[in-house]
Structures are given as C-alpha cells and as structure tokens.
Symmetry: D3
C-alpha cells in the first residue's frame, strides 16, 4: 500500500469538445500531486457537449475506447457530471473509475450539511437526481437547480455565466437551507475558487475532487470488485461497427 | 381518443441475435390485437446478448437507429429486461416507448402482492434492482434472483432452462413471501404460460405485457412529455462515426 | 393468451350518484375496444360522493355487492381516485381489479417525468399521498394539489371547474417541475382532452387508462395471486345486516 | 391540562365475537387507572374475526356506530391489530382514536431496538406491513411473521397457541436481530406477561399499551386536528341502508 | 402489570440552567398523576443551554450522573428536544428512558395528520431532522422551522417569544399543509395551552407528553431490551476524570 | 488550491488505549504522502475501547480536547468506526474532520457494488447501521455483521481474529451478495491487505482511507460550512468540570 513513484491518471472528457478537454486538463493539473502524470483525452466521435439522456448515450462507446487506449493508466476519471458510462467503464476495467458527479456528492457529504447542485439546463436535473438517488445521497441534497445556460455557452460567455452562478448561489444561501454548493458541470470549474472566497461556504467542483480521490484509491490499492455486478464482460460476438468493442477472452 | 384502425408497433430487440428477435416477434404477435401491425427488429450492430452494463452500453445507438428507421410506428417497445436505452429513446421521440422490465413491474404491482424477478446471471441483478429502485417499485419486490444460465443458453437448452426455472419458482413460493413471478429475461417468455398453469400464481412476462401497454397508450393518445427531462435533443455537432445521430433541427 | 371475442368489463362507480355513473360510462365507452362490453354500475346504498376517509368506508360493502352481482365480468374497475376498497375487492375475486388512481399513477410513470395530481378538496390530499407511498410511486410525484371544489360541484359548475383546473395546471407547469398532469377525480375526466391540447403535456385521466389496463390484463390472462395477501376470505360467520356478505365455501 | 376525575374510555372490538370482547375488556381493565371507566363493546353486525382485507371492510360501519353510541366517551381504542377503520374514525370524531397496532409499534420504538411482530395467519402480514410503512416505523421492524393459527383458534386452543408463540419467539431471538416482541393480535394478549418473564425481553401487547396512551392523550387535552386530512365528513346524502350514517350538520 | 402505588419519575434537564429546571418541573408536575412523584434535576456541570451538536456532547456525562444519583426512579425523561444522550442512557439502565423530542413526534403521529416542528435557532434544525429520520417519523413531518431566538431568550423575553411563535404558527397553518404543531424546545412549553386555544389545532409539547408516556411504560412494566443494542456497558477501564463513570460488574 | 509543502494531520484514537493509538499511527503512516506529518493521539481520560453507545458518550469531550491541543493541524481523523463525536468536532473547528466509518462507506460506494461491514460485537451493529442510514449509504450495504470478539481481544488474539475474520468473509462472499468488505473496527486494520490478497475483492479499511481523504480535502481547500448546522458553538457558560470546554468568543 505504498504510494507509487509515478501514477498515471487518465481523465476522460466524454464529449468531443477539445477546448473543454484542455480546460479540464488545466483544472486536473492544478490540483494533482507532483508524481501524478495526467493524460486528458476525449472520444474521437460523439457529441460536443452532454445535455440530457440522448447525448449521454452517444458518449459511452467513446469513453470505453479511451480507456482501452490508455490501459497503462492506473485510474480513470469520467469528467461529466452525469457520470456518463460509469457502470460500463467499471465493468470494462478493474482499475478505479470515478465520475465527477459522484466524487462531488461524496465530498459534500463528508464535509457535512445540506448541499445544492447547480447545473446548466433544466433537462439535466432529472439525470442528476436519478444519480443522487442511486448513490443514496439525495437525502442530504437540498435542491438541484439550473442556470438555464447551455454547456457550450459557459465558456463563450464567462461574464454571463459568472453573473448567473452568483445570483443562483446567493438565492440558495439566502432562501434555502443550502450550506454547501456543488457546481454541477465541468465547465463551471474555473468559478469555484472565486465563489468560495466570495460566499465563504465550500464550493465543490468535480474535476479537482475526483483527481484527489483517484490518487487516493490508487495509493490505497483499491480495485473494482469483479465478483458480480462489475465482473468483466462475457465473451460474445459484437456485430457490425461495434465489432471492435467485442469483449476479449 | 378512439382506437386507431391500424396501429403500427415497433418492437426492438436491442441485441443482434436474430433468432431471439424471431422469438420475440412470435410472442408479441400472439397477444397483439388484430389491428396491431407489429414490426420486430434488432440493431445491425452490437452485442448478440445483453449481460451486464458493458453490453447495455453498446446497444443504445442501435436502438436509436431502429426507432429512426421505423418512424411511422406509433409506439416502441425495448425488449430487454434492463430497459436498455429507455431514457435516450424517450428523448429522441415523443411517441410512447416502453421497456419490458418496467412493463412487467408495473403489471405486477397492479395485480397486487409481493413479486420476485428471475433473471439469467448474477451480474444482471444489480442492473434490475437499480431500475426497480428508480421506478419506485422495489418496495413490493420480494427478491431478484438468477438461474445462473447465460442468455443464449436459454434457447439452446430449453430443458435445462425449464428445470432451473421450475426449481427456482418452487423455492420462491415455498421459502419466501413471493406471490407473483416476473420472468426477467425476454428469452424466458415461452415458459410463462406453462409455469402459470403449473404453479397457479401469475407469471408475468415482459413482451406480452408491454404490447398491451403500448396498444393502450396509443389508444389513450399519450405522448412523452417534452417539457423538460425528455425534451428533444438540442441541436449540436456529433463528430466522427456518430455524426449520423446528430440531432436535427 | 388470445384476446377474447367479447370481454365483459364491470366499471363500478363507488358512490351512489347515478349522474356520475352515466358520465363514467360514457368515458369508459369512448375508449373501450369494440369487443369490450362495459357494464357501469354503482352501489344501491352509501354516499353520493367520496370526499375523505369517512365516505370511503361506507362505499366498500356496496362495491363488493356490485362485484358479486356482476360475477360474469372478467375484470373490475373501481372508479374513484382513492382506490376505495381495492384490497378488499382483490380478496373477494381472483379477476383483475384496477383502481383508477393506481392506473393513472402507473401510466404516468411509464410515460416518464415528474407528475402532479390535481384533486378536488384539501382533505383528499392525504388519502392520495398515502396511496402513492403504498404503491411506491410517490418519488416521481411532484405534488398533489386541490382546486377547492367539492366533487358534486364539478358537474354542476363546469365553467368554474374548467377555469380552476386551467389555472392550477398553468401554475404547476410554470412554477414547479411538473411535466405530466394527473386529473385526480373521476369527475374531471371530460376536461382531459381539452387540457392536453391546450398545454401540450400528457393529461392523464383514470377511467380511460384503467379501461385499457383492464382489457390488457384480461388479454394477458392475469389473475390476482391467491397465495397469501389476497387469498379468498376465510369462511366464518358475519352477523346482522352484513350476514349476506359472509364468505361462502 | 389536569387529569380528569373520571375518564370514560371506549374500547371497540371491531369484530362480533363477544367472547373476545370480554377478554379485551379484562385486559383493558387490568391496566387502566382507577379513575378510568372502561366501556368495551363490539359492533352488532359484521365478521366474528378479522383475517385479511375483506373482513376488515365489513367492520368499519360497525365501528362508527359504536363510536356514535358512545359519544360521551373521551377517547376510543380500536382493538384490532390491523388498525381497522382508524382513519374513518378520526374523521368522525375529534376525540383521540388509537389503534392497538400503532400503539404497539410506537411503544416498541420508544423502548428502543429492533422489534418483530407475530401475527396469526400469513394473509395478515401484508396489512400489518402496509401500516408499518404508512406510520414510518417499518425501518425499525426486524420482521412480521405468523404462527399459522386462525384468530378464533387462539382462544380455543390456548396450549397450542402458547407452544407456537414460544417457538416463534425463541426463533426470532436466536436467529434474527429481534430485541423486542410485539404480539400482533388482540387474542394473544394474555400470553404477554408470561412470555416476558420467560424470555426477558419486552413483549408488547396492544390493548394495554393503547389504554395507557388513551389515558395520556385525554390528560394532555389532545384532539384530532380538524384542519384538513381528518376534517369532519362533509354533509351529503347517504342512500339506502347506510342512510343512518349520513353526516349531520 | 398493575399500576404502582407511588411511582418515582426522574426528569433530567440536560443543561445547567436551574431556572429552566424549575420551569420543567412545574410543567411536569402540572400533568403528572397524583401518585407520580417527580424529581426534576440537572447536571452539576456542562452548558447552560443546548444549541447544536457541541453543547449536546457536553451534556451526556452529566445526564448519566443524574441517572445514577436517582437510581430509585422507575423511569427517566431527558428534557431536551435533541433527545441528547438517549442511546447512552438506555444502555446504562434498563428502566424506560424517554426523550421529549421522540415523545412529541410519536404523540403527533398517533393524533394523525402532518406536523411541523418549531425550534429556536437554525443550527438545531439538522439535529432534529436527523432524529426524525432515525425514528422513521420524518415522512409525516411537514417542516422543521426556527424562530431565530436563542434558548435562554425564551424565558427572558416572553413577549417576543409569544409573538414570534404566533407568527410562525400562523404561517405554517396558512401557507403549508401543517395540521399539528410541535413546540420543539422545552422552553416553549408554557405557550402550548394558549396557542392551542388560539389556533384550534393540537399544539404538542414534549415535557407533558413524555411524563404521560413514562407513567404509561412503568404501568405496563416495559423495560429496555438488554439483548443487544442497549445491553449494559461492558466492564472495562475508564481513565482519568471519567474513571468514576467506568462500568461496574 | 495547491498542495501544501507540509501538511499536518491529526489522527485521534477516541479511546485511551495507547497500544491501539500506536497501531493506528503505523497504519496512517504507512499510507500517508511523504509531506504529510501525522500526529496520532488519544484522550487523556475515558474508556479504553468503544463498544456501544455508553462508551461513545465518554469519548467526545476527550476528542474535543485533542482537537484543541492540535490546533495547528489542518485536518482531523476520528479513528473509531462509530464516527464518535463527528458532529460535535465539526462544530468546534472549520477544518475537515473525517470519521473512519464514513470514509470507508464512501470509498466502498465509489468502488461500486454491494458491501458488507464486519464489526466486533453485536451491540455495535445498531450504531453502525444508524450511521449508514444517516449518511444515506445503507441502501448499498448488504449486511452489518459481527465476529463476536471484543475490541481489545483483536490485538491480544491475532490468530483467533484472523480465523474469525476469514470465516466471516468466506461466508459473506459465498452466501450473500457481498462484493466488497469493509473492516468495521480500527483494530482489524492490519488484516486488510492479507484478506484482499486472499479473497480477491476490495477489503476497505478506515484508517488508510481517511488519511487519503484528509490529504485530499486539505489539498482541495475544503472547510466545514459554518452557515448553519455546524456553525461555531455559541458563547455561553459551561459550569463545573466542563468549564474549560466553554465556547470562546
């Protein structure tokens, strides 16, 4: 259980926006331990942003492909708040796979108190709530709200994003029992520090949280249990364009 | 709200096993109203059976493609007990989309009493339980158990399948509070009637249940709410081999 | 498991208002398959409307009597949103018995998204919520609200009813996460279609939904499990005016 | 909030077995404060024992009638573990109405630790579990089990009853985490003390518990809130043989 | 199971405010049966009021000491709404120990309908909600709210307290589904009767409720189960200033 | 948000067994990053082991004292699986405080699959389950079981401990759906690695997990929200021997 000299961590942005991948890389890099070597990547194919269940579905094959390409990594982060493809990925590899959504919620719970999640569009609220219920962490969640800005606008309109985030956080702290804020989109990451200073409550952001958890789990020697739910895919034929993803012996 | 003269129903087997598609077609046909015109199809690409989260992920693009090819259908059934791709499909179309898992669980609840679900392999238990919890129907579920036979063996070894099913049902009725049996795999469908006669309790099977529900919802004029969770995919770029699935205006 | 040539369905209005029974008959008739022969009836004795737990209690003996009178029916619908007497009825017969409340909630869940229920008076909210929790479907319920109109006023004051329903639906869609509306009283049935057209979200109504479910369950050959919870009443003496309801051998 | 000089408590055995009413009276009397004047009664009509949902339904009108006949009582106890007619009774009067089931479960929770409930027949398990869930107290309930003896046999075969109770309690204490026993049928009441001595864990019985709670609530001046859920029945016509139960102004 | 001639009840105010102890004594005395001999006490050391988790922790040793000093009592009440030290106390003695919080919530549930709890400061809301969830009674709780007055101000500023309580109750009854009020602080006890008269809904207060429950449990002969969760402390060394609390053989 | 050059972490063994403190120190040290400076301490007073609610109560003042003595630390770990005093500690300081119980459960949830917890004595099961429910993580917990060995025996009888642990793990993996093991006592820590090798599933141990989480949270700049639940103790008088713990301005 000694910490490794060098630890390879693969952070996968599940959408195809390379600008966002770059941003995610910088966030991950900023918090990583010196001996963590970060590879940040995104699928070659699929949607340029994830907004709802349809987009999600077209990211998972690409995520699997990136995990396969980066098999020398010792842990994987899926950098979308919907924790897209998390179960499939955990089946594919026995190395720790962490979703930035779950990492944030677990961190919020270990800091204590009621938290609220701020996402981009109303359509994402259900997906996030489904996950919170699945993880069991919905009971400490005060609310999941949206700022009504599409994902790709966050980067294009940083001022409007900041204004809307700020107004929403103000509302949550003043009018609800919210004690902790979770920024529920990878694209909001660069506002975390500023908002934490401004409002004096923990502002939890998923990329940085999951980098530390990934480092932790590798140091701890944890692997995904292969006993049942996440046992390796059974060998079988995959036809057509998905033949290449056919499980190997 | 009058029943349509002819109603086109598209039943999608999410795996690529054409033998199973044929079997599903026969089951659907056997229960359908005379004016229901059934199309039974399966994706051109992907896994030949669904056993766990990894296989699931590689079925969803194919399911979407089949929905798109069958746009003149008035309702869709996803004929896998994991309800694979149900959320993505409901986002893609406003016509009713029904999973055979959910159809069975809702039917069991409306018949009253504790039900148990019998699936194929232990690895599928978690996926089914996750769904039951998400739908809220886990509280009336006595247990989810497996007969430890892979999906494709059901068809190849009908005798062993029958024996194992029978032994499991006997055990559930004798030793647990189970009052209703749900056969938790499309491939078990053809044993439902025989087991119901043998054991004298309702044996619920998903294909036939969902055909009747699909006919019902179309007659009732129901559509998926496009207000928020299942609003149409937002227009955006899909790169590479998934470009063809890019949401249209 | 073939659909029957003619299917006899008994719809029981649990209150003694014959005007409402007529209205329920028309709603049921409008959606029924051509080969469904509907009998719509109500008890000879008991309250003229059901508003709260007290009225409920005085409907159940009458419901049982109507089931007994209509023993040649193959399924029964209890046309009150409180699902009055559902458990007792399922004990009395092994044929499917469906409550219009449960039918609506299950339909709403299979259409996906958050639903809200609109009832008549505040006193009915608890009864509906108790049922939703018992069925497990409260978790997808956004809210149960009332329009503060007694049941019998719905028919006498159609304009006011429409106005109040419309205002309530507008509020629910604008100010809450409601994506689907359930009209929580048999007497609201005739506004469903108009409201669905007006608001563009599914407006679920219990009578029509339960007719289709009843047809479905009969076609599927489902019966209530007599193993335990709903086993036939044990033979025993019933004294006095309830002697006639004494369970037979 | 002073304790009354004399307090009239009406204990209603909801079935028509007068032998059981007598037994209930003795149990209630044995624990009551000297200034509590107990009336123990049962309906003039209805089933001689309650075993499942059907019997339950035919007890509620009789319970209401007994409450009306005993309007000078200051509190009512419904002496059936199913808490039959509790909601209807609370609507009919504003005086405290206590079910022996709920009284036992609340007492068990205030004594601390996991409890198990022992009932008569398997068919009653669902009804008891439904109540436990409705009250919120199922989470501290280890199990609900039955000794497979009909209600009326308890009195006729005291030796067999004692043997079966003893064996079941032994099993629960040895093989499960049960720390407290709830005797889930009024007819088991006279074994409570003996079993408590024998096994050294609390054996909770509903009649005595609810007598003390009724005395407490009257002393405390509590009344049922008439704000909404349990507001008085609205004035309306009741037809036929239930005309006499029609709500008065 | 006969009621004792004289029953010694020890009411422990867990904080060191003797003025509050006196007030609690008067409340307890006002409701107690003539043959109940009340001892009201408070620890010699610790905080003068309990407002949050920190204060709570420093009350438990003092509570245990008071129980030990009053070993001739037959039941104990912990007169703080947080139910401070309840589990530890139940481990230390086998006599009934009742928290005024739990007593109030159980009473509210047996009166029926949705209740709301009014506490002093926002910081106490989480502690109360945690307890409600632990007891299973959160599901019938409409809300937990605070009047933003510190505990010790309740006594010093009775007029302001009354005004704030009144305003909060008005709000809860008008704007929420609240049907019953629980006054969530021992210091609010003397407003219960007045508010009940004013608003006409049950106003539940913990001291009086728990006195009646304690009397009930002693009359019923209940003891805390020593089977597992609350078995007596195991013999072991306690060092330093807590040596005197070391469990004896 | 940069990782600190040197990070001071205070690990508090809440009991007074210095042998166990030493063992905990070695475990913490073995996993800590090179720049983490670990102080491992235990209270000067209180019980030598924690087995149930009574022992717990006498550890919290000592824990607070150790936090105060080590105010230059940047995070605190409470090294008892009951997470003793966690809420009080989070109120006392704004630096991260982590319980080894919660750390293990959150880690298990992020590794995926059903976990079981193995504790020492049956009396501890309730305390652990209460925590699991409070954190929301009970739904993924397969079972909490005990090996029926007191805490202090673990160290004295390593062979018997190993045998019993091994037998219990074998049972859990063979007979239940357990996929991950959580060793639910600090004293079992040194068997984790061996058992993980032997059984091939993740064996999670709380000391090492919480060290990594503490390092993570400090690197992330997280602090406990002081908005409400965990706001600093209000200034007030603490009498007698607890005067020294009186909150300061």
């Amino acid at each position: 259980m000694n910490e490794k000299d060098t630890f390879k961590l693969c952070v996968i942005n599940p959408n195809t926006s390379e600008a966002m991948t770059k941003q995610i890389y910088l966030a991950a890099k900023s918090i990583a331990s010196p001996n963590t070597k970060i590879t940040c990547t995104n699928p070659r194919f699929g949607p340029e942003s994830i907004e709802g269940f349809y987009d999600e579905a077209f990211c998972v094959p690409g995520i699997i492909e990136e995990i396969e390409k980066n098999q020398d990594s010792e842990a994987y982060i899926i950098a979308c708040f919907d924790d897209t493809g998390l179960d499939a990925s955990r089946t594919f590899t026995d190395k720790p796979v962490i979703g930035i959504g779950e990492a944030s919620y677990h961190a919020a719970n270990m800091m204590g108190g009621q938290f609220s999640v701020i996402t981009t569009l109303p359509r994402s609220i259900s997906a996030l709530e489904n996950n919170l219920k699945k993880y069991g962490l919905y009971q400490n969640c005060c609310s999941v709200v949206s700022i009504e800005l599409p994902v790709l606008e966050l980067e294009k309109q940083p001022n409007m994003t900041e204004e809307k985030l700020q107004a929403k956080i103000e509302h949550l702290l003043d009018k609800t029992r919210t004690e902790i804020i979770v920024l529920g989109c990878a694209g909001m990451q660069n506002f975390a520090s500023k908002m934490q200073t401004k409002f004096g409550v923990p502002i939890i952001e998923g990329i940085t949280s999951s980098v530390k958890f990934a480092e932790s789990f590798v140091a701890l020697g944890f692997k995904t249990s292969k006993k049942s739910s996440y046992s390796y895919p059974r060998q079988k034929r995959y036809l057509g364009k998905f033949h290449k993803y056919q499980p190997k012996i």
